[in-house]
Amino acid sequence: MDFQLADLKLIAPHIALLGTALLVLMVEVFGHGRRRPEATWISLLGIGIAAAATGMSCHENRLGFSGMLAADGYSAFCNMIILIVGALTILVSSNYLKDERHEHGEYHALILLSMTGMMFMASATHLLLMFLALETMSIAIYALAGFFRTKEGVESCFKYFLLGAFSSAFMLYGIALIYGATGTTQIHGIMEQFTQIKGLASSPMALSGIALLIVGFAFKVAAFPFHGWTPDVYQGAPTSVTAFMATGVKAAAFAAFFRIFFVAFPATSPVWSQALWLLAVATMTMGNFAALAQRDVKRMLAYSSIAHAGYLLVGVVTATAAAGTGMLFYLLSYAFMNIGAFACVIMLGRRGADSTNLDDYAGVGFKYPLLAAALTLFMFSMAGIPPTAGFIGKFLIFKAAIGKEFYWLAVIGVLNSAASVYFYLRVIVYMYFRERPEAAPEGLRSGPAITVATVVAAAAVLILGLAPGFVVRMAEAAMSTF
């Protein structure tokens, strides 16, 4: 099949983001020597255009570029999650970068380029394109993790880079083995080969390929036992980048993970769903129990992010349309609650000193009531307490698991979320029931942009929790386009 001009419409959102990234870089070059607040506004405008383009291309519902990528409801929903993550991250970063004296256009350009990679990942229907998109996303984030060039930041960048390159190699070898077994890397083609060739579903080559693919994805979503990098990287990276990593990378990786396993490998699902079952249980249990022991809020959120990857893995194990709906809803609500929580962490920090120890949160509740209220809301949502978005997300995923008779998985998931309440509530206890020390620094690292982001995130967490119907129906419609 040849290239058609009409196919460009399918990647209009991606092109819009890429163009904006180049524009931001150009503005940086020609506006030499001045502090440039424009980068924020240009980036937001570009994200807005990409969102509009996504809205226009979501009814196309077809494959383009010789079956390379799909513009369907599923990719449109994932694109929207990624765009929301990007917009919130840029809003949250605005004051933070200024305060840390790192207000450079390259930061915004790297965020936008990384988002381009994420969106290609979410819509890729070809393993090769998916891999290139994954690398585009990852390399931008490696650089972002070390952007402040602090000792911890550089360590986090280097650790993430080395381990990430290692996991990419595993994934690539997996793709090669799948290609060897099926003769194609297009996911619909792979599915056809599995139905046509008898015995392919039990061939060691295909199964090893799938196993290595799982290793690659498990690394990216920080699932046990490939989670070792997460705490150090999340703690060392700039807080805004941590928020971006925890939500954006997770959304993109889970979007690709689910699409590939749902479309290409249903024939072997009894095998891989067992492996993923174990992975999901180990991931959420390990994440939650390690988070119990943390006294650093950023590190605690890193372990909580591992636990959330475990809940999301339940959706991939179940691999039904209902589970996909739950996963999409969860990724969206996780974006709001996690970036909101990190925004609060940023506001409580100082230049050069993030002050993320639990003791720094003592007495915040009465000193800054609005901020404390927002952080309380985000913590409730992460713990999955109604009426917040986090509760609905968990409910949808566990309901789907029960629907496919994964009873134990759902039970373990619910027990895990009960255990997680302890460390989320501990932050709230420190904020409201501890005396604020005399020496505590005055003032917040706040500004209009970060306030808007926090208010939007808080409102979204509440709205998704109180009236989830509209978004759930959208996610269902997105899943029906497969």
Binding site: E106, I139, A181, G183, S203, A206, L207
Partner: protein, 168 residues
């Protein structure tokens, strides 16, 4: 004849790879890597992939190796040379697990391969020509990954500058 050359090259490639990790002098490691790359290039040639063979020699054996050797000369790696590796329990476990993974990855290659054989046989390639076929695929079916690869290079460039430049 072809099989003999293949096995010689494969053995050389593996020996080179082992050399990369076991030599203490980084320059020796780099030279061992060169050996691996050239042997792999010859294996490509045995599979009638002349274009990939040329690219492998030019880009990897030529360009990438030059970069690696430059970096080795720029960095002072003598201290690394003096250190002796100690065998700690963690390392033993790592070697054990790594070996186990390696062995399990050999299973799919040793077992009967149920997969498809490709359409690009020697005769077909002679008819179409390997460069023509590759470029045709690259600029029609694989246009999007090809373009995305250039975005990937841009990201690497911007990221490297952001990390390495003294003052942005």
């Amino acid at each position: 004849m072809v099989t003999t050359v293949f096995f010689i090259c494969a053995a050389l490639a593996i020996a080179g790879a082992l050399g990369v990790v076991s030599f203490r002098n980084p320059v020796h490691s780099a030279l061992a890597m060169l050996g691996t790359m050239v042997s792999i290039a010859v294996i490509y040639l045995l599979h009638n992939a002349e274009f990939i063979f040329a690219i492998q020699l030019m880009i990897y054996a030529g360009g990438v190796m030059m970069l690696v050797i430059f970096v080795i000369f720029l960095l002072d790696l003598r201290r690394e040379e003096e250190q002796r590796a100690k065998l700690k329990s963690g390392k033993v476990i790592a070697i054990g697990v790594g070996g186990l993974v390696f062995l399990s990855l050999l299973i799919p290659l040793a077992g009967s391969i149920t997969g498809k054989t490709g359409g690009m046989t020697e005769k077909a390639l002679e008819r179409i020509g390997s460069v023509e076929y590759l470029s045709n695929e690259l600029f029609t079916n694989y246009l999007l990954p090809f373009e995305l690869a250039s975005v990937l290079l841009l990201v690497g460039l911007v990221g490297a500058v952001a990390l390495a430049k003294k003052r942005l």
